[in-house]
Structures are given as structure tokens and as C-alpha cells.
Assembly symmetry: C2
Homo-oligomer: 270 residues x 2
């Protein structure tokens, strides 16, 4: 069993089989980072790519709920722990390891580094075109561990909402990437305007345009904006990626454009 | 100078001068926890209480922006570092210590514990009726440090939004309190329904009612719900507590009721 070879070499061998490692970041929580990660991974898998999705949010793993993967049991094989398969998508989250869904994970930093290492070293991801890593908000232990353990991150996608208080935290995330020498694939502005389903008029609940201004300021690509749509939250609660359940809406169209913008980067290996 | 006596005794002496220590928690980010903390502290101060507000969010300190306290310089006196005064409110945040507002704080857990210790030990809070501590989302280093350092926390207020994905993380927060033996003063449901300013009709962008159901399930008080109001986000960006700038609205009325509900707890020392 590979699990006995718990050294950096095993991890390096596993990571070498993954063409593109994409880290999803945000300075602030609640900007829709996990929703973005789930839908990015789903969209790439539906295009026929082999995709892994790693939930690196140790305290608030929402990926299992968002993909309808409750009460899943992890299996272990000769090549290590098997990620949970969902169509063409392979998923791993600490949520699969908790005995009760509402159990809090009361861990300090070093423990979190260990579990993220395990996710990369002991999980049998196999050959992948993309690994999408959903990091918790902030610039602390988890994103730092992800960056240091992976080593050759293809790039980061930074998700923000339009208002200044969120944007200020997201600027920190971009500076975090710059300091570490992590490439920024681009910025996504989420919750950009709300279309009232009753009267059709738009209200900028969280103001608008902050993401684009930020991208220009930092000279990184602006990948696009996704409007607020109550169906997105409901889709997440129901365990369905909204790009499938809300097909044809403004939100899912913006999303497709964002994925194709990201794939235009010369950093992405085909 | 007190700063040379950097031991637990100094901290205990400082904490003994604070009647009520209220910790604001949420399992998930972006639920409006900092907005709640700022307005809770402001509301208590306007009632004539002596109030301190400690921003324990090391990676994403938003309290300075929300109170319009940019470019503030910290001063040190015989009794330690002086918190920034704003009317009857005393405020401390790592945001006051960063050389540039967009600097990321790339710190692992132990460093975060140290700075929170400093905030309690080296800051001259003086006599206070309330210290409101705004914790970052999750159940990791920061809330754990706050709880362990303060020792006799009066209670926690847990902020959530109505949708299931957020609620699931908030249940973790409540279990976190139960495990540590921290009293739960109650649950607040934020972003509860959106009133379209054009047609007046309500859309439950993030569904509705999750906070109340959770409070019943865990047998903790439900303090109230605050509807979504675009003016709240704008007020925060402009550095003004919304209870002042949106006086008379449904949001600010719900807020007053929540504060008075919280103060009904027999844990609150008058």
C-alpha cells in the first residue's frame, strides 16, 4: 500500500500526473468561492476533461453539500484513498471524514497543514487534466499550505463581490499571490447586481464593478462577472451545480464565458 | 510601563475591568458578522455604555473600513497601547498596524494567537461595560484563542444567513461553543429576504427561516432576523454604522430589537 510510503516523493509522483493545478482564493468569505469552484470543476468535466476537486476548507467544507454528496463513505485501495467519483469528477473533502455533518473541526494551523498534505499525498487522484483546489477565505494556514505543498501551482482564480469591504480583502489575496510568486489567472466578480424576478429591474445590492477596477489596477485578467440569482443558492442547497440546473440563464452564460476566458491563459496546459 | 509586565497577570487585571465579553461568531464568512459587530458595539455605546470593539479577524480586518477609521495612528501610553476612540467606542484591529491597507497578513496559527494575546494584554481598554470581539469565520485558531485567553466569555452571538449551506457551517459554530462550554447568547439571521426598492416585492435571495429553525433545534435563543438592504453595504463601505445612516428602516428596527433581546440574557451584567 502506498500509504506506508508517506514521504514527499509519493506526493511529487501524484502531483506530476496532474496537468493543471488551479487554486480558488478569496480574501473574504461568503463571496461564492465554493459555488464557483464546484461549477468550474463541473464545467471542465462536462467538456470532457479529467477533473479533481479538492475542498481545502477544513472548518467549513461546503463542497459535499453543494454536490449532494452526503453520507458518502471513503474507500481505500492499493493506490491510496479513493476520491469520491461523480460523473467525470473526483472529489475530496474533510466533510467525507466527519462522523456527524455538524461536527466542528477545532484544529489549529499545524493540524490543518497535515490534513491538506494527506489530501495531496494519500489520495489516489490518478491522471488529471485539472485539479481545482477550493481554499478557505483569508491568507492563512490553508492557502499557504496548498501553495507550498503543490509547488507548481498553475495559477489562482480570485473571487470577489463588488463592494469595497470585500474588495479590500481581495486585494490582500492578490498581494498574497504576488508575494509568494503565484500566478493570478484572473479575477471573477460574483453577486454582481440582482434582477428582481417580480419586476425585472436591477438593484446593485452589493454595488458593482469593483472586480474589473481591481483587475486593471493589479494588471491581472478580469475573467467576468456573475449576477445574483436566487436559483444559484437553491441549486447549492439542493446539491446541484447551477450551471446544470439554471441552464440558459444570464448567470450560467456568464459562467461559461468565465471558464473559456480562464482557459485562454497560456499557463493552462492542453 | 505596563508593557514590560507581559504576563498572564496583566491580562487578567485588564480583563477583570470588563463586565461583559461578547464573542461574535459564524461558521461561514460573508454572512455580515463584522457589520453586526460594528452595529452592536455602536448601539450599546449610544445607549451610554462603555464599549470596546476588538477585531480578531487577522487576515481580513474590515472593522477599520466599516467605521471610517483609515490612516489612524496608534498611540502608546503608560498603561499600554491606546485603543482608537470613536465617540464612546474604543476600537482595536490589526488593520491599524499594517503599513499599507492592502498588505496581506501571511501568518500561521501560533502568530495569530500571539497577536490576539497582545490585543487583550497590551491594549489599555480601561473600564468597560462590554467588549465585543469580532472573530473570523470558522472554528480554528482565532476563535479558539479568543475563548482560551479570555476565559470567562459572557457568551457568543452566532450570525448566519438563511440558506442551508451557511446554516450547516453555523451549526458547527454552535457545536464548537457547546464543546468548549461557551454560553450561546443567541442566533441572528442576517440577509433575511430582499425588498426590491423598485416594486416593493420581497425575494428570499438566500431563502428564509433557517436561523429560527436552528435556534429551536439547539435550544438556544433566536435573537431576530435582519432583512437585506442595499443601504447596509453602502453604509459599511462609507465607514458608517447602518443603525445611524439607515435610521427608521426595517433593518435598523430589527437591529434594535436584537440588541434588546440579547441584553435580556441573565448572563449580561448590568
Amino acid at each position: 500500500m502506498e500509504e506506508t510510503k508517506t514521504d514527499d516523493k509519493v506526493m511529487q509522483e501524484r502531483l506530476a500526473k496532474i496537468k493543471n493545478k488551479i487554486v480558488v482564493l478569496s480574501g473574504k468569505g461568503g463571496v461564492g468561492k465554493s459555488t464557483f469552484s464546484v461549477n468550474l470543476a463541473t464545467a471542465l468535466a462536462q467538456e470532457g476533461h479529467r477533473v479533481g476537486l479538492l475542498d481545502a476548507d477544513i472548518h467549513g467544507p461546503s463542497i459535499p453539500t453543494m454536490l449532494g454528496l452526503k453520507d458518502v463513505e471513503l474507500l481505500s485501495g492499493d493506490g491510496g484513498i479513493l476520491p469520491v467519483s461523480l460523473g467525470g469528477l473526483k472529489v475530496m473533502s474533510i466533510g467525507f471524514m466527519l462522523s456527524a455533518q455538524d461536527d466542528p473541526v477545532i484544529w489549529r494551523g499545524p493540524m490543518k497543514m497535515n490534513i491538506i498534505k494527506q489530501f495531496l499525498q494519500d489520495v489516489n487522484w490518478g491522471e488529471l487534466d485539472y485539479l481545482v483546489v477550493d481554499c478557505p477565505p483569508g491568507t492563512g494556514d490553508e492557502p499557504l499550505s496548498v501553495f507550498q505543498l503543490i509547488g507548481d501551482v498553475t495559477g489562482a482564480v480570485v473571487v470577489t463581490t463588488p463592494q469595497e469591504v470585500a474588495a479590500s480583502d481581495v486585494r490582500k489575496s492578490i498581494n498574497f499571490c504576488f508575494r509568494l510568486g503565484m500566478h493570478v489567472l484572473g479575477i471573477v466578480e460574483n453577486m454582481s447586481g440582482f434582477v428582481c424576478p417580480h419586476c425585472g429591474k436591477v438593484t446593485d445590492i452589493f454595488r458593482k464593478g469593483g472586480g474589473k477596477i481591481m483587475a486593471e489596477k493589479f494588471k491581472v485578467p478580469f475573467l467576468g462577472a456573475i449576477p445574483i440569482d436566487p436559483a444559484i443558492g437553491s441549486a447549492s442547497d439542493d446539491g446541484k451545480p447551477f450551471i446544470n440546473s439554471c441552464r440558459g440563464t444570464a448567470s450560467s452564460q456568464s459562467f461559461s464565458e468565465i471558464v473559456s476566458e480562464m482557459n485562454k491563459s497560456e499557463r493552462i496546459k492542453k
